[in-house]
Amino acid sequence: MSGEISTHYGEGNEMLRLATAGSVDDGKSTLIGRLLYDSKSIFEDQLEAVERTSEQMGVEHTNLALLTDGLRAEREQGITIDVAYRYFATPKRKFIIADTPGHIQYTRNMVTGASTADLAIVLIDARKGVLEQSRRHAFLASLLRIPHLVLAVNKMDLVDYDEKVFEEIKAEFRDFARKLDIADLTFIPVSALHGDNIVERSRNMDWYQGSPVLHHLEEVHIASDRNLVDARFPVQYVLRPHGDEFHDYRGYAGRIAGGVFKPGDEVMVLPSGFTSRIASIDTADGPVDEAFAPMSVTLRLTDEIDISRGDMICRPNNQPTVTQDLDAMVCWMTEQGSLRPGMKLALKHSTRWARALVKDLQYRLDVNTLHRDDSVSELALNEIGRVRLRTTLPMFVDEYRRNRETGSLILVDEGTNNTVGAGMLLS
């Protein structure tokens, strides 16, 4: 016998964050344009503006890419440079699209857009099959641990809606995907231009039994993607009102990064190692019986112990690793200098800043072939490699594959203050 209990806060719909990767040539903008248009998320004045600009540019068809390519430079060059965020909703879900450029020179932008995504759509041109670019996008989606990957085989109209073409691409991609760590992989044959299998099921491809893209986005199960096992609460801010009404109030505000917390739970505070119990989980709307990722709440403990920002509240029998030596896959994100052993950087992990020394660059990963090159001495812009770091303070970390919140870090140049690296922790 099994039972189901549901703790769901709010009566509205769930939110799904998706990332799309590809170039205009793959029909990515057409796909997004169609999702937005068919869900009535494009407004008349936006469409008119795009039509006007398309006309000025001398383009024959209304170029839906202009909806997302918002910067002057992007419109002038006809390319997507940066991540653009788009929003649409259906009666079932709210969607946030991080629309990212597909070219290798914008790998950092795709990594950025993918970092918070629940699902990625990678587009493949049915005529061209699995290209180097498609492999790279799939690899980045798996590196960033996006839980769901959709391979949209586009332009099926140009291959006569041929099932064989679709099956060949599927087989080829599956073969490649075996080398990756992809939890959920879905293939959908589409024609974004004609709307086949985008919102409505295609009549031109009776042989396809699966869902159209939108239906898949509405139904894919994401509630269990977050880590609900390892209780992690990075302390963000200490609330001490000092007023008459709340004279002795001392609350630890933060956003739950993993697991479930309940009043009465025994907890441990790092780095001190003190243990206590949760007296109450507060919100401005009143106390709650349970709190889980990604809720922002305030914890009060039964004991008065010294806790400050950057500390981590966890369970005595389930703690993150406390260490000053970090192994991470790092994506280097700046053209101003390379990552080299010996350099020092600022590092942010959860709510904790430290300084980090690059001890070692073990190898560089070729994002197209997955080949490991251990002869390199530096990582340049858009390159990804395995790096060993030594931090000034102990950090409270989990493997990225186990928890994206407590397994990720950013590296910041101490001179310019620019974010120059993104790291995913390995065991």
Binding site: S2, M15, K40, A84, A89, S408, V412, T419
Partner: protein, 305 residues
């Protein structure tokens, strides 16, 4: 017996949790934050979120109104009431002061707007008050340049935004580091849409200035927009004032913010209207965005929010 528990947040709760996280990060990492508060619905929601973030404490930073002098009386009255009720510290940056001191020159003619002049006042106030983080209620769905904006948006010592040189922003790890003279603009409601804002206003029972709801007002038509008559409006030939039932979808400088005809008198009615509308709020009501395809990008580069 095995029991599986499903844990979930709906989208408004998820958005709220994200915004509260952002606001607390700023309070924790900056010396002198300030929250831009105009009385417009987005800034009202942002203030509401900030108050929830620090409950039961008071807001640990002041709010600031950049006052163009072209105001709707109802909005100023509302602003003062909110400030009073929540014991906020209000800082007012006056565009009129900059005009009087000759730091900016006001455009003349009936189409003159003080919208552009706000930038000078905003940057002067940031400098004078040494604010290092400025919360703004801009949303990415509003406008295509804003769609490219970061949550933590770096500004150099001239207050400039460099859209091509933005810091990558990953996971929920915000980089708020800056050098003296520079500052960070923070947009905690980046991921909210107009519909989310109204749904949240309804759910939380948030009070708004009365001009967001249907009322009778003397207006005239210009460039397809309904502008209010009054001390800040100068009629041109052929423009005839008439009384109509209108409401405002956005609240900005009174001289360039248009009303829409609407009978929606309650939040629920407005929500139904917003859900069915086919024109964006800025497209319908803001002359300042109509200057060119890149009007917002150009203003943002100069330091507008």
């Amino acid at each position: 017996m095995t029991t599986t528990t499903h844990y979930g947040l709906d989208h408004l709760r998820a958005l709220e949790a994200e915004s509260i996280h952002i606001i607390r990060e700023v309070a924790a990492e900056f010396e002198r934050p300030v929250l831009l508060f105009s009385g417009g619905k987005d800034s009202v929601v942002m203030l509401h979120l900030a108050q929830k973030a620090f409950w039961p404490c008071r807001l640990p930073f002041p709010v600031m109104h950049v006052d163009t002098g072209h105001n709707f009386d109802e909005v100023i009255e509302f602003r003062d009431r909110v400030v009073e009720r929540s014991s906020l510290r209000l800082v007012v940056g006056s565009v009129q002061d900059d005009i009087d001191a000759g730091r900016v020159v006001e455009n003349t003619g009936p189409r003159a707007s003080r919208n552009q002049l706000q930038t000078t006042t905003l940057l002067r106030m940031i400098e004078e008050e040494r604010f290092d983080a400025v919360f703004g209620g801009a949303r990415r769905d509003e406008e295509k340049a804003r769609a490219k904006e970061r949550v933590f948006s770096f500004r150099d010592e001239f207050g400039q935004w460099d859209p091509k040189g933005q810091r990558p922003e990953l996971w929920n790890l915000y980089n708020g580091r800056y050098r003296p003279g520079e500052h960070i603009r923070v947009f905690p409601i980046s991921n909210w849409t107009e519909l989310d804002i109204w749904s949240y206003i309804e759910r939380e029972g948030i009070e708004l200035p009365s001009i967001y709801f249907a009322h009778e007002r003397e207006v005239f038509e210009r460039d397809g927009m309904l502008l209010s008559t009054g001390p800040h409006a100068r009629l041109m030939d052929g423009e005839v004032p008439e009384r109509r039932v209108v409401r405002y979808r956005t609240v900005g400088d009174a001289s360039c913010t248009g009303a829409v005809e609407s009978p929606a008198a309650t939040v629920a009615e407005v929500l139904a209207e917003v859900a069915a509308t086919r024109i964006t709020e800025r497209g319908a009501t803001r002359a300042d965005d109509r200057a060119s395809e890149a009007a917002m990008e150009d203003r943002k580069r100069q330091g507008y929010f």
